[in-house]
């Protein structure tokens, strides 16, 4: 056409090519807008129904039926009257419990065996609230905002739980991740603190490790750990000996990586204003960007659950995508 027209780019007959929207590798499925500020999400199947447990900041806990990802529906809202930072779901004695880390009010323990009608079991108030919890065996580690990690015995549930010991981390713990008999505590300033939990009632510090970035979140995969390292990207460290973690590499995609989720061979990241991404881990030490999605709102916690990527989407509530 250009030859025939002598490359006259201003010819009135010229019709520019229209390219379809680029596919970015992650696809929208559905959304439920809530009235809080979603910062963390976990999926769980209860009674054959898929639920997202959304820590919705000032709006407390939102329990959302996501069985139909295109049309998520609110099952229950539990107000914590503080700011719900994180939710951890587990089963004890055949019942489902939600451990709610409220950074103002403390730790709520809810029996969510019937998600449509949760029953509050306990509220453990701490003066400055709770950031995160993690469990091994019958022990729950509760990271208070002020610094101490309280060790609770869970075998008394559904009766009241009680504190059996306290662990003093190097710095206040932002997030607890437990794999086997090792605790991985993400802390301000310190970065990562690894803790020996072989005697779960008596944790013993292994060591600390500072990643090159801001150490926001961590997931464990066999002998490797992946750290959401802020603008540094994803940092991969070797943890075959948790007493001597070592740096392997950081992979940057020029975004601010704040949250992570791991499913074998894949890594999912929440990048605040920069959307979400999925990486393949076919080479486990080199996360390889596979796709991304940039919605409106902030992208916080992510959880890959039943082929859906659940995203705590800030004031936009729960976002469901897939890849």
């Amino acid at each position: 056409m250009f030859l025939a027209q002598g490359c006259n780019l201003y010819d009135d007959d010229y019709v520019p090519l229209v390219f379809p929207d680029p596919e970015t590798g992650i696809y929208y499925v559905g959304r439920l807008k809530t009235n809080g500020n979603a910062v963390y999400v976990k999926g769980e199947v209860i009674n054959q129904v898929q639920y997202a447990f959304l820590a919705d900041g000032p709006a407390g806990l939102q329990i959302i039926n996501v069985t139909n990802g295109e049309n998520p529906s609110l099952t229950y809202n539990f107000q914590t009257n503080g700011f719900l930072r994180e939710v951890f779901i587990d089963t004890i004695k055949g019942r489902y419990y939600a451990f709610l880390s409220d950074e103002v009010k403390g730790l709520y323990i809810l029996d969510v065996t019937n998600p449509a009608n949760p029953v509050k079991d306990s509220l453990l108030s701490y003066p400055s609230g709770v950031n995160s919890t993690g469990r091994t065996g019958n022990y729950l580690y509760t990271a208070s905002v002020s610094g101490n990690v309280y060790i609770l015995a869970l075998d008394s549930l559904p009766e009241k739980v009680y504190v059996i010991n306290t662990y003093s981390p190097v710095n206040p713990v932002k997030h607890i991740e437990i794999k086997g008999s090792t605790g991985y505590f993400i802390e301000n300033e310190t970065g990562l603190e690894t803790v020996n939990l072989e005697n779960p009632a008596q944790p013993v510090r292994y060591t600390t490790f500072h990643s090159p970035g801001s150490s926001n979140d961590i997931r464990i995969a066999d002998n490797l750990a992946y750290i959401a390292d802020g603008t540094t990207g994803v940092t991969v460290i070797g943890i075959s000996n948790p007493a001597q973690p070592y740096f392997i590499k950081s992979v940057s995609i020029e975004t601010d990586i704040r949250y992570l989720d791991y499913s074998p061979n894949y890594l999912f990241t929440g990048e605040y204003s920069d959307g979400i991404s999925v990486f393949n881990l076919f080479n486990t030490s080199t996360p390889d960007l596979l796709g991304y999605y940039i919605p409106t709102g902030k992208c916080n916690g992510v959880h890959f659950f039943k082929a859906k990527i659940l995203v705590a989407n800030g004031t936009d509530g729960l976002l469901i995508t897939r890849f």
């Binding site: 929207d21 696809y27 929208y28 054959q48 069985t67 074998p264 076919f282 960007l289 596979l290 082929a307």
Partner: protein, 266 residues
């Protein structure tokens, strides 16, 4: 005078009786023939019937049930040589002549035939190795182990659990492109043995549900035959399907991106 007047009436009555008598006789002559003797039926299976005899020459695990017409037979025998059709204790059935669907099941064995029953005849049906039959389709509920990579490197060993109408990845080998909790299969149709099988590209992206045919070798062994190739699976655990729940996105892909970003070089 009165007798004279009665003659016509008496004559009419007499003639009516004669006509009635003649009409009531078979021959019309008033003389009846004896019925002809019936020919003896030489069909030993009964009029219009035939016989099917089922046998196998190799052991099959578990009890073997043979369903034909509305009957269910059980076969426990393994023959060294073909039995004699009419003089053996092989499992058999006598049915009216016609075509019948035969469904044979063992613990894992699965075979279907269309058998023709012919009047007066005894026919042997050797179902060893499902010779001449088809395995057909079978419920997929349970846990399936991928026994070969096929086009996806490192995916031998992938474990998919089929439950409630959906095949979900339970375990993925290192480097396999299907993550745990991926929905690998959906929309299984037992009537035509088709399914939608999730394919991904070399990097794990470009998810696409491809129409595929499920070919059963027996209850616990199948090939998924689709656009991406032929992938073998073995069932390693059975579980009942309690209900079907279709929930997943209906295969609709909805790109919805409001921004762009730099991508690192691969």
């Amino acid at each position: 005078m009165k007798i004279r007047q009665a003659y016509p009436v008496l004559s009419a009555v007499f003639i009516a009786v004669i006509i009635f008598y003649l009409m009531s006789c078979d021959s019309g002559t008033g003389i009846t023939d004896p019925p002809p003797p019936q020919k003896p039926d030489t069909n030993i299976y009964g009029q219009g019937n035939g016989k099917l005899v089922f046998f196998r020459t190799q052991q099959i695990a578990g009890p073997v049930t043979i369903s034909i017409s509305s009957y269910t037979l059980t076969d426990t025998l393994v023959w060294q040589t073909d039995p004699v059709c009419d003089s053996s204790n092989a499992v058999s059935i006598i049915l009216p002549a016609g075509n019948y669907g035969v469904h044979i099941e063992g613990a894992i064995f699965l075979c279907n035939y269309t058998a023709a029953v012919e009047e007066r005849k005894c026919k042997l049906l050797n179902y060893t190795n499902c010779n001449g039959g088809t395995t057909g389709c079978y419920a997929m509920a349970g846990t399936w182990l991928r026994t070969d990579d096929g086009p996806c490197v490192n995916c031998k060993g992938l474990i998919v659990q089929f439950q409630n109408g959906i095949g979900e990845v339970l375990y993925t080998p290192p480097g396999c492109r299907f993550p745990v909790s991926d929905i690998k299969w959906k929309n299984f149709n037992i009537n035509d043995c088709t399914i939608l099988d999730l394919a991904r590209d070399d990097y794990g992206g470009s998810p696409e549900y491809q129409a595929a045919t499920v070919y059963f070798f027996h209850k616990d062994s199948l090939n998924i035959n689709g656009q991406s190739g032929v992938i073998p699976y073995q069932r390693i655990e059975n579980k009942d399907v309690s209900y079907y729940k279709k929930y997943y996105n209906n295969g609709i892909i909805k790109p919805d991106v409001s921004g762009t970003r730099l991508q690192p070089l691969r």
